[in-house]
């Protein structure tokens, strides 16, 4: 076993060596511009791009023509929201999203609000899921788009996407989903799930960074999006710019591998994740899993270790790469807004650790991680005045704290 151990696969995944092999020729040998229509260099590049388009479409139940290549999921999300807002401005000016979305959605919505779009940010229930009745009530005759993520990047909960899509369809509203964490990990099907627009990216499914895609439905309904960059009119006019052929080849190869290996891989991820969880829960008291485990990514475990601050825990497990929802680990010095949205209290957000398992983690690594985390939590609880007070039977929620 090699140290440090990488267990932060929601942030990014290592590239699968098979993906890298597939990409290699497209840097030096097959370097043509896929838009060059009159020589073999261009045709070869175009052929590679079209193969990738099919691989991506196959993974998500779409047709190749519905795939628009982008520079990553942030661009895909921006293009979806801004492109729909602009294209459907005559129909309405209202977008519905959720409080636990990624910043690429929330900040795009904030920007749209400045230009006159009204945005409803649905709260989530304590289990992390959107309340469907609340969604139904939020839709008005001005609503043009519902954007709810498929699976959450922090707490791993999987939203009832098919139901959300059905509700949107019934009301004649488009449905976009950010499927960055879900695609390639769990079955995603744009037809069954009633999805009209969907964002994915390469580097969360063992492919390259800097290459993503947007699924844009062509039939029932035919979705139109206003391009956000002017240029050569690539990608059916929705996204100009010379195609990143090696990246696109990598994204396609990564999707094909995910599709072929998903049944086996998702079983293995769930086994490792459950083992990690049961080890932690059997050795430590007062640990709380964040987000429902009933509708959950197989590779995610987000867990709060009460009375221990997340950054100090990360410091003690410095040969393991994971993330925390603690304020101290964020650029804004605010604890995770996703965990806050669950309403569990800021203290549990400060105490949270996100374990993101991936294709290359082993059972030996999981055993090591569990052992190390248990040791450090115990050590830090010896240091914690809160743990001491809790053991004395003091109700911490009733204490008058000298907040600063």
């Amino acid at each position: 076993m090699k140290l440090p151990i990488y267990m932060d696969n929601h942030a990014t995944t290592p590239m699968d060596p098979r993906v890298f092999e597939a990409m290699k020729p497209y840097f030096t040998e097959v370097f043509g511009n896929a838009a060059s229509r009159n020589h073999s260099f261009g045709w070869q590049a175009e052929e590679a791009v079209e193969k990738s388009r099919k691989q991506i479409a196959d993974l998500i139940g779409a047709t190749p023509k519905e795939i628009v290549f982008t520079g990553g999921a942030t661009e895909s999300n921006n293009l979806a929201l801004k492109g729909v807002a602009e294209m459907y401005a005559e129909k309405g000016n209202h977008i519905i999203t959720a409080a636990t979305e990624h910043k690429a959605i929330l900040d795009t919505c904030k920007r749209l609000e400045k230009s006159g779009i009204r945005v409803t940010y649905l709260p989530v229930q304590t289990n992390g899921l959107v309340d469907l009745d609340m969604l139904r009530d939020a839709i008005t005759d001005k609503t043009i788009l519902v954007s709810i993520m498929y699976a959450n990047n922090e707490i791993g909960v999987v939203q009832p996407v098919a139901e959300i899509g059905k509700i949107a369809k019934e009301r004649g509203v488009l449905f976009h989903t950010d499927a960055v964490q879900a695609a390639g990990k769990i079955p995603v099907n744009v037809i069954k799930d009633n999805i009209d627009i969907m964002s994915i990216t390469g580097h969360k499914l063992y492919g390259p960074k800097g290459c993503g895609a947007l699924y844009v439905r062509r039939k029932g309904p035919r979705v139109q999006i206003t391009a956000q960059m002017d240029g050569g009119g690539h990608e059916r006019g929705m996204r100009s710019g010379t195609l990143n052929v090696p990246g696109i080849v990598g994204l396609g190869a990564a999707c094909a591998l995910c599709q072929a290996e998903m049944p086996e891989e998702s079983r293995r991820m769930a086994f490792l994740r459950d083992k990690l969880r049961s080890k932690l829960e059997s050795q430590l008291d007062e640990v709380y899993v964040n987000g429902t485990m009933e509708h959950h990514l197989p590779n995610n475990l987000n867990i709060s270790f009460a009375y221990v601050e997340g950054e100090s825990l990360l410091m003690g497990i410095n040969d393991i790469a994971v993330s925390s929802g603690s304020a101290c680990t964020s650029a804004t010095l605010e604890p995770s807004y996703v965990l806050k949205a669950l309403g569990a209290g800021d203290d549990l957000a400060h105490s949270s650790i996100r374990f993101g398992l991936g294709r290359f983690n082993t059972e030996e690594e999981v055993d090591y991680v569990a052992g190390k985390v248990i040791d450090v939590v115990r050590k830090l609880r010896e240091l914690s005045p809160l743990y001491e007070m809790a053991k004395e039977g003091i109700d911490l929620s009733k204490v008058q704290w000298a907040a600063h």
Partner: protein, 137 residues
């Protein structure tokens, strides 16, 4: 973020971890911070009532590594000081000793506040204790 060697040392080998009897009239207890802010420090001093010198200091901290290091360092510095000398410890001394980056300055402020709270508590208790002694005699 990279931690300084001194922060790492205090984190890995925290000094004077523990708790003293709060009801002891010679013990002053300071508790500052709040769980929802992500840091709580409890700092205690035991003062010799004859000399006014701090003879023991203990801490427990819920917080990041820099908060743990700041309070651990504070207990080291308190040993052998008079209560008035202890009040002279400034957060900036802690910042420079531990090479804390700007985002961690609040940890040192919290440690200074904890020292002040512990000393204030001791002074209040000893004043009360003296009054009680006078009343009894």
């Amino acid at each position: 973020m990279a931690y300084s060697n001194k922060v790492l040392d205090h984190y890995n080998n925290p000094r004077n971890v523990g708790s003293m009897d709060k009801s002891d009239p010679n013990v002053g207890t300071g508790m500052v911070g709040a769980p929802e802010c992500g840091d709580v420090m409890k700092l205690q001093v035991k003062v010799n009532p004859e000399t006014g010198i701090i003879e023991d200091a203990k801490f427990k901290t819920f917080g990041c590594g820099s908060a743990i290091a700041s309070s651990s360092l504070a207990t080291e510095w308190l040993y052998g000081k008079t209560v008035d000398e202890a009040l002279q410890i400034k957060n900036t001394d802690i910042v420079s000793e531990l090479s804390l980056p700007p985002v961690k300055i609040h940890c040192s402020v919290l440690a200074e506040d904890a020292i002040k709270a512990a000393i204030t508590d001791y002074k209040q208790k000893s004043a009360l204790h003296k009054t009680e002694s006078v009343l009894v005699s």
